[in-house]
Symmetry: none
Subunit: 224 residues, 4 copies
DNA sequence: TATGAATGAGAGTTCATTCAT
DNA sequence: TATGAATGAACTCTCATTCAT
C-alpha cells in the first residue's frame, strides 16, 4: 500500500463518512417531520425521534442544537423546497397571467399533494410554538409573498399599471386562500382525489378577482 | 321577617352568589385569554392565570376541567361572539352582494380590530395544540363556512345560478383570505391604522372574483 | 297553646332534630364504609362521601374531625359490633370448648358473611394508613385477643393447667387463622356459599391443635 | 491493541456498565423498601427515595415506570426471596412432618427475623394500595399457598389419606397463623428476642392441629 | 346546623438537555 | 462521532380542609 493508496483510501473513507453524516442528518429530520405531523410538535419527544431515526438521543443533539432548532431546520428545508417548486412554475407559461396560474396549480399539485407533511409543518405544527419559530414562519411567508407580489406586479405591468400596495395586499389575500383551501381539503378533510376540481374553482376565483381589480384600476385611471 | 321576606332574601342572596360565580368564571377566562396571547398557550402556567385572575390555582380547576378545557371554552366564547357579529352584518344591506361586503368589512372592523386577542386565539394559539382543540377549531370554522357558503349561494341566486360545490370552495377561499390578511396586518405587522385601505383592497378583490365567477358560469350556461 | 304544649313541642322538635342528626351521622358513616371498600380509602374523596351521603362537604366536617377520624370512628363501630357478636357467642354452649367453637362459627357466619364491608375495613382498608390508624387497629385486635386468650385459659382450666403465655400465642395464631381464612375465601375469592365446609375444616383444625397442646402439657406435667 | 483486545475491552466496559446499572437499580429498590417501611408507602415521596438512593428523581423513573411499579417490583423480589428460603427448608428433614416443621421454623428465623422490612412490605405496606398491588399480593400468597398445600398433602400421604380441599383450607389457616404471629410479635410488638419460644408454641399448636385432623380423618375412614 | 365555593401546599411525572465513556 | 444513562427544573392537577353566609 503506497502513499497514494493511503491518501485515496482516507479520501474515500472521508467521503463515505460525509455521506453517512448527511444520511443521518436527513433521517433524523425526516423522523422529526413524520412525528411532528402525526403526534404534534409538543407531544413529540426527542427520545421518540431518536428511536424512529435509529440513533441515540445524544446523536440528535450532535446534529441539532435543540428541539426548536430541529423544527427551524425542518422549516428551512421546506421553505427551500416550496420556493424551488414555485420558482420553476413562475418561469413556465407565456403570459404573466398564465405563469401566475401555473404557479397556483403547481402549489396544489406539486407541493401540497406531493408533500402533505411539509404542508402540515408549515401551516399547523410551526404555529404558535415560540417567538423564534413564529418569526421564521413569518420570514418564510414574507419571502413567498414577495415572489407573488412581484408576479402580480408583472401582471399589472401588462395592463400598464403599477400599484405596489394593492399588489402586496392581493398577494397576501391569494396566499391566504391557497393556504386555507389546502388546509381545509387536505388537512381537515381528505379530498385529495378532488383536488383537481377544487384547484380549478379556486384559481378561477383568483383570476377573476385579479383581472377585475386590474380592470377597475385601469378604468379609474382612464376616467381621470 | 315573614316567610315572603325569607324567601326573597334567600333568592336575592342566591342571585348575588350566582352573579359572583359568573364574574369569577369570566375573570379567569379573560386572564387566560390575555396570557395565552401574550406568552403563548404552552408557556402560560395555570399558576399565572390564577394570579392574574386573583384566585387560587384550585379555583381555576373548580371552574375548568383542565388547561385544555380553559382553551376550549375560550374558543367557544369567541366563536359565539364572531358569529353574533357577522350574523348581524349579514342582515344589513339591500342586495345580497351588499350584505356580503358588509360582513367582510364588519369582520375586519368589528371583530379583528375590536378584539385582537380573540383573533390571536383563533388563528394562532389554538393551532396544533391537541386533536381535541384542533377538532373544535375545525368545527368553529366549519360553521362560519356554512354561513358564508349560504351567503354566496344567495348571491348566486340573484344571477339565477346554483353551484353548491363552487360556493363552498369560494367560501373557504374567502375565509382563508380574510384570515391571512388579518394575520399579516394585525398579528405579524401592526398596520391597524391602515386597515381601512387594506379592507377596501381585499373586498374589491373578493367582489371581483365573485362577480367574475358568476359571469363566467352564466356565460357558460348561456353558451350551451 | 299553653306552656306545656310549647315545651312538649320544643321537646319533640329537639328529639326530631336529635334523631335527624344521628341519621346524618350514620348515613355519612355508611357512605364512607361503602366507598372505602369499593374504591379503597386513599382513592375515596371527602367530596364523594358527601355526595353519596347526600350532604355538603362541610357537613362531613361537622360530624367528623377529618378523613382519618371518619375511618377511626368507622373502626370503632365495627369493633363494637364484632365484640358484641362474639361476646354473645362466648356465653352460649355448655363446656368451655363448646363455647369456643361457637364463637368461631359465629365469627364466620354472623360477622364475616353478614358484614363483609366491616371485614374489609378491618383487614384491608385500615392497614398501613397512618400510625394512628394502625394503633387503633392494634388496640382493637389486642382486645379481641384478650377475650380469646381468656377463653383459652378457661379451656385450660378444665384440664387443670394454666399457661398464660401459651394461651396468648395460641390466641394470636387462632386469630390470624380466622382472619386469613376470611380474607382468602371472602375477600380474595368469593366462596361464601362454601363457608360452611370451610368453617368446619378450620374449626376442626383449631380444636385439634388446642386439645393436642393441652394433652401435651398435661402429659409433660404428669411426666415430671 | 489488537482486535481481541478491543473486543475484550469493550466487553469489559459493557459488563462494568451493566453491573453499575444493576447496582443503581438495587440501591433504589433498597431505599424504597426502607422508606416504605419507616414512613409508610403513601407518605414516601419519590423525592425522598431518590435522595436516599443518591440519585436524581428522573433516575428513579428511568428504572421504574412509576411509584406503584416500584412497589410491585419490590414485592416480586421479596416473593422470590421468601420462596427460595422456604423452598430449601421444605427439602431438609427426613419425614414430611419434619420438613413441614423445618419450614415453619425457617419462616420465623430466616425470613421474618432476618428481613423484617420484607415482612412489613408484604403484610402491611402493600395492603389496600391499588387493585393491581392487591392482585400481586394475592398471587404471591397464592403461590406460597400452593407450596404449603403440597407439603400438607405429602404429610397426608404418609397417613394414607388424600383430601385436597382440607389441605388447602388448612394451608390457608396455617399461613394466616404464621403471618399474624409475625405481625403481632415483630411488627406490633418487638419480641424478637422471644421468637424462639413463640415459634415453639405456634409450631406445637400447628403440629397438633395437623395430626389431630389427620387422625380424625383416618378414624373416620376406618370407622366406615 | 348546613352549605359549597375557595384555598394552596404538595406530589407524581415528564422530558429537554448534558456528558462521561 | 455516537451513545444512553443521568439529571432536575418545571408543571399540571389533586384534594383535604376552611369559612363566610
Amino acid at each position: 500500500m503506497d502513499r497514494q493508496d493511503l491518501l485515496q483510501g482516507s479520501t474515500l473513507t472521508a467521503q463515505r463518512r460525509q455521506r453517512e453524516k448527511e444520511q443521518r442528518y436527513q433521517s433524523i429530520l425526516q423522523a422529526a417531520q413524520h412525528l411532528f405531523c402525526e403526534r404534534g410538535y409538543p407531544n413529540t419527544k426527542i427520545q421518540d425521534i431518536a428511536k424512529a431515526a435509529e440513533v441515540a438521543v445524544g446523536t440528535v443533539y450532535f446534529y441539532f442544537r435543540n428541539k426548536e432548532d430541529l423544527l427551524l431546520q425542518l422549516m428551512d428545508a421546506i421553505a427551500l423546497n416550496i420556493r424551488s417548486i414555485l420558482g420553476q412554475a413562475f418561469q413556465s407559461g407565456k403570459t404573466p397571467i398564465e405563469r401566475f396560474e401555473n404557479a397556483g396549480r403547481t402549489f396544489f399539485q406539486e407541493f401540497c399533494l406531493a408533500h402533505p407533511y411539509q404542508l402540515i409543518i408549515l401551516l399547523r405544527e410551526s404555529v404558535g410554538i415560540t417567538p423564534e419559530v413564529e418569526a421564521r414562519r413569518r420570514s418564510i411567508f414574507e419571502r413567498l409573498n414577495q415572489d407573488v407580489t412581484s408576479a402580480i406586479q408583472e401582471v399589472m405591468g401588462e395592463f400598464g399599471i403599477s400599484n405596489g400596495f394593492a399588489a402586496e395586499v392581493i398577494s397576501v389575500a391569494i396566499g391566504g386562500m391557497m393556504e386555507k383551501v389546502a388546509y381545509q381539503y387536505l388537512i381537515w378533510q381528505d379530498r385529495s382525489s378532488e383536488m383537481d376540481t377544487i384547484t380549478k374553482e379556486a384559481l378561477a376565483f383568483i383570476r377573476g378577482g385579479l383581472l377585475s381589480v386590474l380592470n377597475n384600476i385601469t378604468q379609474a385611471e382612464a376616467g381621470r
